[in-house]
Subunit: 121 residues, 2 copies
Amino acid sequence: MKYSPINFKEKFTKFSECFSPKIIARMNDVHFKLGKFQGNFVWHSHEDTDEVFIVFEGTMRIDFRDGSVDLKAGEMFVVPKSVHHKPFAEKECKIMLVEPAGTINTGNSGGDLTAEDNVWI
Amino acid sequence: MKYSPINFKEKFTKFSECFSPKIIARMNDVHFKLGKFQGNFVWHSHEDTDEVFIVFEGTMRIDFRDGSVDLKAGEMFVVPKSVHHKPFAEKECKIMLVEPAGTINTGNSGGDLTAEDNVWI
């Protein structure tokens, strides 16, 4: 039997909206989500979990209260639990988030950019 | 303050041995490990956890008792908990593993290819 791999490029063709990560895989209680980021996201934090950003295409920045990190394709960053952060991308940036199932994109901030947290593609 | 991203290419320059994954990041209790695979690994399973393979460069195959999956750069696969598998790469393949801290590369099989499970680069 031939099993099928998960192909990132193919998965990115399945959605277009920004700041609305889609689940592509699960490892134990951890979700792997693809996202397209463009513009300013909201300041927020996740009180119960670290959050991993992996950039596949483009560039983005994550602002913190005391600084920032610039990320480009082939780079990752772990935002520690409870650290306030605000993602930003001038142009569309394709990323993968790795975080526990049920993690809400806007953390404890809520608002219009809050996305469904359980959409598989 | 400028925080530093984790750059995969730069991290891959820091080791050369095959089948000896090195830790580059931690999210909660999950380790992100880079590995260089070439040749046949051993049949094994992980009784307590799923295991994620993400291919950055090259190609590899994972054999199962009932089939196989071919992976190339830009693809991932989740090997379910307790499923016997044997990674293989004809030429050097650069990958990232995502799995709980403490996961042993040879699972419950042991043997000469068992690597240290706690080496950071």
